[in-house]
Amino acid sequence: MKRPGPQKGSRPEWDGDGSLSIRFDKLGVVIALLIAYAVLAAPFATFRANRIVPGDAKGILQALPAGAGMLLLALMAGVALVVLLKTPTRLRLFAAAAGLAAIAVFIGMAATFLTPPANSYARVSPASGFWILLFSFALLAADSITRMRPLPLVRLLLLVMTLGGAAVVLTSGLWDGLSILKEYSGRADVFWLEAGRHVTLALGSLFAAVLVGLPLGILCHRVAPLRAGVLNTLNLIQTIPSIALFGILIAPLGWIAVNVPGAAAIGIRGIGAAPAFVALFLYSLLPVVANTVVGLAGVPREANEAARGIGMTDRQRLFGIEFPLAMPVILTGIRIVLVQNIGLATIAALIGGGGFGVFVFQGIGQTAMDLVLLGAVPTVVLAFAAAIVLDALIEMNAPQRERGRTA
């Protein structure tokens, strides 16, 4: 479908007759508008006299010392300009990183600036403008990285660099004035304890689901009559709301704790970590089993036929042919489960299962949004990181056939 007019991306900045033709980037326009709104119309930081009273929204110029405020405005304008125009992808990624670094530094500065000296009750937290900027730069970074199509290893490296940057900022004390870190500083021990529980819960239930789901998937693949029944049952479980599932599990687990010797000793109770673990495990089964079945079904019939014909045993065929060929699809299922579990593990706090949800629900109870964020932000970061790592793993594992060309 050829249309008259200039070919996308192939025209030079300067036309033949010497007039400047400015070209805009579609997504860039949206991001630039977001940045403009965040900087000009939305508050950058919120000041509160203590952690639960309503806050006082401050724009960039009010939240920062005069010179710093102007500098941030100028920086944001610069990023917006880079984003708006059709600029090289590397420059855009650099702009995104610079924008992220800038708001990270300046929000810390705002906290110090706004907090009256020697006042430990006052709270300064990022406001909507900050979050919009964060979102805009993250979007820009994601878009640039997608356009650059980096190798999986490079993506992992970018992730490590981002997390490393965040760790440096956190340990540098730059953000110590921020409300979320004030919440943290009071409960550092508990935070890491709950973090450990959260990860254990999410990864442990995933591990259990893979341990059970893979063989179950293989069984469903080989024994066709089993397939519909198993998948429908798992589907049904998936539709039970998590709170309801916890409720359903209280009775049987409570019974086991009382009646099975040793069960209580290893932590099985009607409430607590055990039902949360079981619930996450049950939710995880469907993606693992379903993707195993789909993956195995997608193995070319001729490859299977040939494998049998040249004398592979069933086991050799499973591990040598079917599994490697189904692995990308199975890994996709595992990725779904991991991200899902990291999110769902938050709910475990409702029944005393621990995890980051503890802070979320405490915060809701105390109407202390900072405490909610202390639970929510690490959960989101963890889920994101897990998704990126597994995507990279999947890609490293999947197109072995494509990579064979260059290897």
């Binding site: 036929e305 040939a306 049998r308 592979m312 056939r401």
Partner: protein
Amino acid sequence: MIEIDGITKRYDGITVVNNVSMTIEPRTVTVIVGTSGSGKTTLLRMINRLVEPTAGAIRLDGDDNRSMPGFELRRRIGYAIQGHGLFPHRTVAQNIATVPVLLGWNKARIDAKVTELLTLFQLDPAAFANRFPHELSGGQQQRVGVARALAAEPNVLLMDEPFGALDPIIRAKAQADLLAIQRLLGTTIVLVTHDMDEAFHLAHKIAVMDKGALVQYGRPAELVKDPATAFVQTLIGTSERPFRLLSIETAGDAVEPGPAEGQPLAETVSQRDALSELLWSGRAALPVAATDGTILGRVTLEGLTRRAAKPQ
């Protein structure tokens, strides 16, 4: 030697292979032909026990093929199928090495075998060993498929429509290669095909299947001369008969003494092709040359016409 003895296969009471008996001589090519659904594949797969027969027995060099586990039997019998069935996640070399690895050969021996087979099939090992199947043309994939089937030096090679997916030019080449390799290695080949030209070109003996039964089993010339049923006759094609006869033997087999003018024919071309060459060149005789170029004699229009006539 493969002795098929009263073999029958029934699926849910439907007989798809019905009491077939035949003996396949070692170091020969046997081609199984018949219409679609006549049971050719099923018969072939009962030899390596991908399908277990309902009744009857199959003996390989006198031993019942049920005297060892199916997978062990299959490692000793080459098996090549239409569409090659190469493993997409393994390189050409790994594909070919599959059975030797299963048999526990050492690495040096495996590498040597892979190189030998690639060379035999005219695929440069340096260029092809590390490629993946999707990086090959259809004809190359087919050759790798056959090379994989031959990797463990089996005495018997079963082929189910191995050349079905190839274009006519590549197919002719693949057939010539197969014959050369069969002569070189002395493999016993059982091949299923729909293509009667292919059958007459390759076969020492042809087995015709019709609705699960073996209706005729014999040398190609016998089938042309005495078709056992109307079905065999239709399959061969009435108007094709003289040409079928000529396509069985080579120009070398029809050499007569005497001089002839013109471009010499290779002794390996079929008599059918020699006839075609004579007709096209408008000559009554053409010289026949051995592979080294020495003139063996000549083929004549008259001699070939005699050979194409109904055998007495």
